[in-house]
C-alpha cells in the first residue's frame, strides 16, 4: 500500500481508491489500463479485450473495470451482497507470465491485504463459459475462507485453442472492498472515502438503480421485443461476419469486432429473457448454443484479422 496517499484515497477507506490502487498496480506491471466496454455484459470476460485478444499469437497485457450485469441476481436492493449490476476488475496477460501468482499476491498487498495475517489460498476451480465456448484451469482465490478472485489459465476461447495461453484474473470488487472496509452490506461501502456530509456510499450511487432494474428485469422487460432483439442480433452478427471476409475469401477478416458486439448483445438479451422466466429448461440449452456458435464464429474471424495475428 502506498503510504503517501491521502486518507480518502486509501483502498481500505474508499471504493474508488480501491479501484485506483488496482489500476495503478497493474499499470506498473505493463498492462494497458482500459475503460469499461460500452455494452451490457454478464462478466468482464465478455469484453473483446479479453475474449478476442486472448486469441492469436500477439502479446497482450490489459486491465480494466467492467460493470457486469446479471439480471437474475437482482434482489431489489434488499440483499446485503447480491446485485444485478456490479463491478469486476479484470486482468489479462498473454502469454501468462511465470510469476502471475506472485503478481496477484502483490496486488492484494497493494489493496491492503497482508499475507502475514490473512490466510490466502488457491482452491481448485475449473472455469468454463458455455456461452463463450471457453474453458480454462485455475483456482478461486480465498482470503480467510472468502472467495475474492478467480484465477484462470485460458486454454480455449471462442472455440479456438489459446496459443500462447493467457492468464486471467477477475476480482469481485464490491466483495473485496467490503472485506477491506469491514462492512457487511454492500450499500454501506464508502464510495469516495470522505466522512460526514461529504461521504458518498455505494448505496447513494447504486441503490436506486438496483431497485429499478430488479423490477425491470423480473417483471416488466418487454419479452416480445427481447425475443425479436435476440433474433436481430443473431442475424446481424452472421451478416457482418459474412460481409467481413476480404474479397469473399476466408483468408482475412475486416469486421470481427462489430460482429462480436452483436454476440455480446444476444448474450445479454438472453440473460434478460432468462430472468423473466420465459425460457424453458430445454430452450435454455438451445439459446446458449446459439450464442456460443456466434462467439465461435467471431473468434474464427478475429484470428484472421491483423490484430488477431493473421499474416
Amino acid at each position: 500500500m502506498d503510504a503517501s496517499l491521502p486518507a480518502h484515497m486509501r483502498p481500505e477507506r474508499s471504493f474508488q481508491g480501491f479501484i485506483l490502487a488496482l489500476q495503478r498496480f497493474w499499470a506498473e506491471q505493463g498492462c494497458v489500463i482500459l475503460q469499461p466496454y460500452d455494452m451490457e455484459m454478464g462478466a468482464g470476460t465478455f469484453h473483446p479485450a479479453t475474449t478476442l485478444r486472448a486469441l492469436g499469437p500477439k502479446p497482450w497485457n490489459a486491465a480494466y473495470v467492467q460493470p457486469s450485469r446479471r439480471p437474475k441476481d437482482g434482489r431489489y436492493g434488499e440483499n446485503p451482497n447480491r446485485m444485478q449490476h456490479y463491478y469486476q476488475f479484470q486482468v489479462i496477460m498473454k502469454p501468462s507470465p511465470p510469476n502471475l501468482q506472485e503478481l496477484y499476491l502483490k496486488s492484494l498487498a497493494a489493496i491492503g491485504i497482508d499475507s502475514a495475517v490473512h490466510d490466502i489460498r488457491f482452491v481448485e476451480d475449473d472455469w468454463e463459459s458455455p456461452t463463450l465456448g471457453a474453458w480454462g484451469l485455475g483456482w478461486e482465490c480465498w482470503c480467510d475462507g472468502m472467495e475474492v478472485s478467480q484465477f484462470t489459465y485460458f486454454q480455449q476461447v471462442a472455440g479456438v485453442e489459446c496459443a500462447p495461453v493467457a492468464g486471467e484474473l477477475t476480482y469481485g470488487l464490491e466483495r473485496l472492498a467490503m472485506y477491506v472496509q469491514g462492512v457487511d452490506r454492500v450499500y454501506d461501502l464508502n464510495f469516495n472515502g470522505r466522512d460526514g456530509d461529504a461521504k458518498v456510499t455505494y448505496g447513494d450511487v447504486f441503490l436506486q438503480a438496483e431497485r429499478e432494474y430488479s423490477k425491470h428485469n423480473f417483471e416488466v422487460a418487454d419479452t416480445a421485443m427481447l425475443f425479436e432483439q435476440f433474433k436481430m442480433a443473431e442475424a446481424a452478427c452472421r451478416k457482418y461476419l459474412d460481409a467481413g471476409w476480404k474479397d469473399g475469401k476466408r483468408e482475412a477478416h475486416l469486421m470481427s469486432l462489430p460482429a462480436y458486439d452483436q454476440c455480446i448483445k444476444a448474450s445479454h438479451v438472453f440473460n434478460l429473457l432468462d430472468a423473466r422466466g420465459v425460457i424453458s429448461v430445454t430452450e435454455r440449452q438451445s439459446y446458449i448454443f446459439r450464442v456460443r456458435e456466434l462467439a465461435k464464429a467471431c473468434g474464427e474471424a478475429w484470428i484472421h484479422t491483423e490484430a488477431g495475428g493473421a499474416a
Binding site: S96, A116, F122, Y153, Q155, D184, S280
Partner: protein, 699 residues
C-alpha cells in the same frame, strides 16, 4: 546402494488429485526401473498442494549387462537380407553369427551383448518421459511456450524439478534432464508465505527435514494427523466434540502445507436450521468441520477451520474473516429453509410437469405417477399400507424443488422428511421421503419400514425397467444412470427384509406403465432378471460366498423370487460343504459327463423313464428306488421352501450313486441295457434339479 529423490514443484495442485498423483508417480517410476533391470528396495511418494515428491531407495548404481539373441535370415538367404541383418545387429560379418537349426532350416543368430548403463543415465532417460506423459485427470498449458506445439501439459504450471541420485555416504549427483525448458537441479522452495526462499537439498532425509524447517509438512498423512488431533483437542478443551469427517479431512489436508487449526463461532439463532443443512453449508462452502455438544448430540454454534499459516496476530483476523463468511451463508440457508417451510410439498408438484426426467422417458411428473402406481401395487406384497405408500410416493421427490436441496443436493430426501413432518404427514410417509433413495451403496443402510421399502422398490424398478425399455443399459465401465446400484439396492431391499415377490411380475407391471413401447417388450423382464442374477453374483462374491451357485439356481428357469433364490443358494452352499454334498456333486458330474459323451455319440438324448424290467443288477434297482424316493421327498421339501430338508433328501442319493458307479458298467454290450442305464443316469440329473442344476457348479 544409491537413492533417488525427485520433486516436481508447481502451482497449487487440486486437493482431490494429490493422492492419486503421488501414487501414479511412484508406480510409473518404479515400474520403469524394474523394466530396465533396476530392482529397488523401497519407494514412497508424497504430495502437498505445491509438490509431488518421490523417494526410491536402494537402486543399483548400474544396470546388469544384457545378452539377447536375434534371429536373422536363412543360411544361404538373399544377400539383401544378410546385409540388413548385419546392419541391424552391428556384426562385421556372418562369421560372428552362429547358426541354429529348427524345423524350417538353418538360420543365422546374432548374439548381442548390451553392457548395462549407469542407473543415473537410465533415470535421465525415463523421468522426462514419465513427466511429459503423466496421467493427470485434467491438464493445461501455460506461458510463452504454450504458443508452440508439443509444449508440456501439467496439472498447473510446473516451476522446478529436483532430481538427485547417489549413495547415502556421498554427495549425490543431479539427474540431468530438462522438460519444457525446466532444468533439473537441487533447489526447491518452502512455504509460500512463511518461508518462500530457495532451499538446496541433497537427498530425501535432508529434503524432508529442510522442508519442515521451511514450514512444509511433506507427508499428507502427517498433515491429516495434525489437523485431526488438533481439532479434537481444541473442541474437547471447550467441552465439545468434533464431528469427524474423513472426506473433508482428506480434502483439507490437500489445501495446506502447514496446517494451523482454529475454532470460530456463529450466532446461536442459526441452530434452528437442521443440523445437516448447517453442516452442508459449513463443510461444502468453507471446508470447515462442525462441532457437536456431547450432552445433546446436536451441533453447537462452533466450527473448526484449518489455515495454512501461523499468522503474526495469532489468527484473530483469520478467524474473524471466516466467521464473516459463514454468517451470511448460514443466513441464506436459514432463509431458504424458512421459505421452503411456507410451501406444502404437494404444491410443488405441478412444476415437475415442466421438468424432463429423460427425453425418452417423459417428465418427472409422469415418473412420479408411475412410482405411485407401482408403490401401491408393491405395498401389499411387503406389508405396507397402500394409502401411505401412495402418499409417500406422491411426495417423495417434491423436495428436489426446494431451495435448500437446490443449494445442497446432498440433503435431498432428508429435507423431504423434515418438510413432510413439518406439514403433519404420517411418520412412515415422512421417513419414506428420505429412505426411498436407500440403499445408495453396499455400505448404506437398508430401510425396514414397509412404506419406505415399497417406495424404494418402486423407484428403483421404475428406473431399471425404464432404461431397459429405451435400451440404455450399463456397458463395461459405463453406467451413467447408476443402474447397477439400483439393481443391487433392490436386491438388498428384498433379501434383507425377507420379502416374497415375483420380480418378473413387478417388472411387467412397471413396463405396462411406461409410455414407450420397446420392440422386444416380451423379452424385457427376463433380460432384466438376468441382470439381477449378475448383480446377485457380484454381491455374493463380495460377501465371500460362492457365486457359481447363483448360476446353478438360475439355470432351473422360472426363478424370479430373489429371496427363494438366495435361500436355495445358501442351502446349496451349506450342503456342498459336507462330504455327502461333495461326493454327490462328484457323482452327478460323472453321470453328466458320461451322458454328455454318449448323447453326442448317439446324437440323441436319453430322456424318459427307464424300464424296470431291464434292470439286471441290484445296484440298478437300488438307485432307481432311491431316485424315486428322493424326488418325492425333495419336491415336497422344496414346496415347503425347506431347502435344507431338500438337501438332506439329496444326500440319500449318495450311497446308491456311489454303489452304481462302483459295480455297474453303463456301456453294456446289450444296446437296450445300455440305453436303459443311460436313462437311469439322466434320472439322477433330473432328480437333483429339484434344487439346482448341479452341472453349473464349479468344482
Amino acid at each position: 546402494m544409491p537413492d533417488l529423490l525427485l520433486e516436481l514443484f508447481s502451482e497449487e495442485i487440486p486437493a482431490r488429485m494429490q493422492a492419486k498423483a503421488a501414487d501414479d508417480l511412484r508406480r510409473l517410476v518404479t515400474e520403469k526401473l524394474v523394466a530396465e533391470g533396476l530392482v529397488y528396495e523401497g519407494a514412497k511418494a508424497f504430495a502437498t498442494p505445491r509438490r509431488l515428491a518421490l523417494t526410491v531407495h536402494g537402486i543399483p548404481a548400474r544396470q546388469p549387462d544384457l545378452k539377447t539373441e536375434r534371429r536373422g535370415p536363412k543360411v544361404g538367404g538373399p544377400d539383401t537380407a544378410v546385409q540388413g541383418f548385419l546392419k541391424a545387429t552391428g556384426l562385421k560379418s556372418l562369421d560372428e553369427a552362429k547358426i541354429q537349426r529348427d524345423a524350417k532350416g538353418d538360420f543365422y543368430i546374432a548374439l548381442i551383448e548390451k553392457a548395462g548403463r549407469d542407473a543415473i543415465d537410465v533415470l535421465a532417460e525415463i523421468l522426462p518421459v514419465i513427466i511429459r506423459t503423466f496421467p493427470w485427470p485434467k491438464s493445461m498449458r501455460w506461458g510463452a511456450r504454450s504458443g508452440k506445439p508439443g509444449s508440456l501439459s501439467w496439472v498447473r504450471p510446473l516451476h522446478a524439478i529436483t532430481a538427485t541420485f547417489g549413495p547415502e555416504t556421498e554427495e549425490p549427483d543431479v539427474v540431468k534432464f530438462s522438460v519444457d525448458g525446466i532444468e533439473t537441479g537441487q533447489t526447491t522452495y518452502g512455504h509460500r508465505f512463511m518461508a518462500p526462499a530457495a532451499i538446496s537439498v541433497r537427498r530425501f532425509e535432508d529434503y524432508e527435514a529442510k522442508l519442515k524447517a521451511a514450514k512444509v509438512i511433506l507427508d499428507p498423512q502427517a498433515r491429516k494427523d495434525i489437523i485431526f488431533a488438533d481439532a479434537k483437542e481444541l473442541t474437547f478443551a471447550q467441552g465439545f466434540e468434533l464431528v469427524e469427517d474423513q472426506v473433508l479431512l482428506d480434502e483439507v489436508s490437500g489445501l495446506v502445507e502447514w496446517p494451523v487449526v482454529m475454532m470460530g463461532s456463529f450466532e446461536e439463532e442459526y441452530l434452528a436450521i437442521p443440523d445437516e443443512v448447517i453442516r452442508a453449508t459449513i463443510r461444502n462452502n468453507q471446508k470447515c468441520f462442525v462441532v457437536k455438544d456431547p450432552k445433546t448430540g446436536k451441533l453447537t454454534n462452533k466450527f473448526v477451520l484449518t489455515a495454512n499459516i501461523e499468522a503474526t496476530d495469532g489468527g484473530k483476523v483469520i478467524v474473524a474473516g471466516n466467521e464473516r463468511v459463514i454468517r451470511p451463508r448460514l443466513s441464506d440457508a436459514k432463509f431458504f429453509y424458512e421459505t421452503d417451510l411456507k410451501t406444502k410439498l404437494e404444491d410443488r408438484l405441478p412444476k415437475f410437469e415442466q421438468i424432463v426426467f429423460h427425453e425418452k422417458l417423459g417428465t418427472q411428473a409422469e415418473r412420479i405417477k408411475r412410482i405411485e402406481r407401482l408403490a401401491a401395487e408393491i405395498a401389499p406384497l411387503v406389508g405396507a399400507d397402500v394409502a401411505k405408500a401412495t402418499r409417500a410416493a406422491h411426495l417423495a421427490k417434491a423436495d428436489l424443488l426446494t431451495e435448500v436441496v437446490g443449494e445442497f443436493p446432498e440433503v435431498q430426501g432428508l429435507m423431504g422428511r423434515y418438510y413432510a413432518l413439518a406439514q403433519g404427514e404420517d411418520a412412515s410417509v415422512a421417513a419414506a421421503c428420505e429412505e426411498h433413495y436407500k440403499p445408495q451403496g453396499p455400505a448404506d443402510r437398508v430401510p425396514t419400514d414397509p412404506v419406505s421399502v415399497a417406495v424404494a422398490l418402486a423407484d428403483k424398478i421404475d428406473t431399471l425397467v425404464g432404461f431397459w425399455a429405451i435400451d440404455e443399459k450399463p456397458t463395461g465401465s459405463k453406467d451413467p444412470y447408476a443402474l447397477r446400484r439400483a439393481a443391487l439396492g433392490a436386491i438388498r431391499l428384498i433379501t434383507e427384509n425377507a420379502l416374497r415377490l415375483s420380480l418378473m411380475k413387478v417388472a411387467a407391471s412397471a413396463l405396462a406403465g411406461l409410455s414407450v413401447r420397446p420392440a422386444d417388450a416380451q423379452k424385457l423382464p427376463s433380460d432384466l432378471l438376468a441382470f439381477f442374477a449378475d448383480r446377485l453374483k457380484v454381491q455374493l462374491r463380495e460377501q465371500g460366498a460362492r457365486h457359481d451357485l447363483v448360476d446353478a439356481v438360475f439355470a432351473l428357469g422360472g426363478q424370479d423370487d430373489l429371496l427363494m433364490i438366495v435361500r436355495r443358494v445358501e442351502a446349496l452352499g451349506t450342503f456342498l460343504e459336507t462330504d455327502d454334498g461333495k461326493n454327490l456333486l462328484a457323482g452327478i458330474k460323472r453321470a453328466s459327463n458320461i451322458l454328455g459323451i454318449e448323447e453326442k455319440k448317439d446324437k440323441r438324448s436319453f430322456d424318459g423313464a427307464p424300464d424296470a424290467a431291464l434292470y439286471s443288477l441290484g445296484e440298478e434297482r437300488a438307485l432307481a428306488k432311491a431316485i424315486g424316493e428322493v424326488k418325492a421327498e425333495a419336491s415336497a421339501a422344496v414346496a415347503k421352501e425347506d431347502f435344507a430338508a431338500a438337501m438332506s433328501a439329496m444326500a440319500k442319493l449318495r450311497p446308491p450313486v456311489d454303489a452304481f458307479f462302483d459295480k455297474v458298467r453303463v456301456n453294456d454290450d446289450d444296446a437296450k441295457v445300455r440305453e436303459n442305464r443311460l436313462k437311469l443316469l439322466n434320472e439322477i440329473r433330473s432328480a437333483t434339479r429339484a434344487v439346482a442344476d448341479f452341472s453349473k457348479i464349479q468344482d
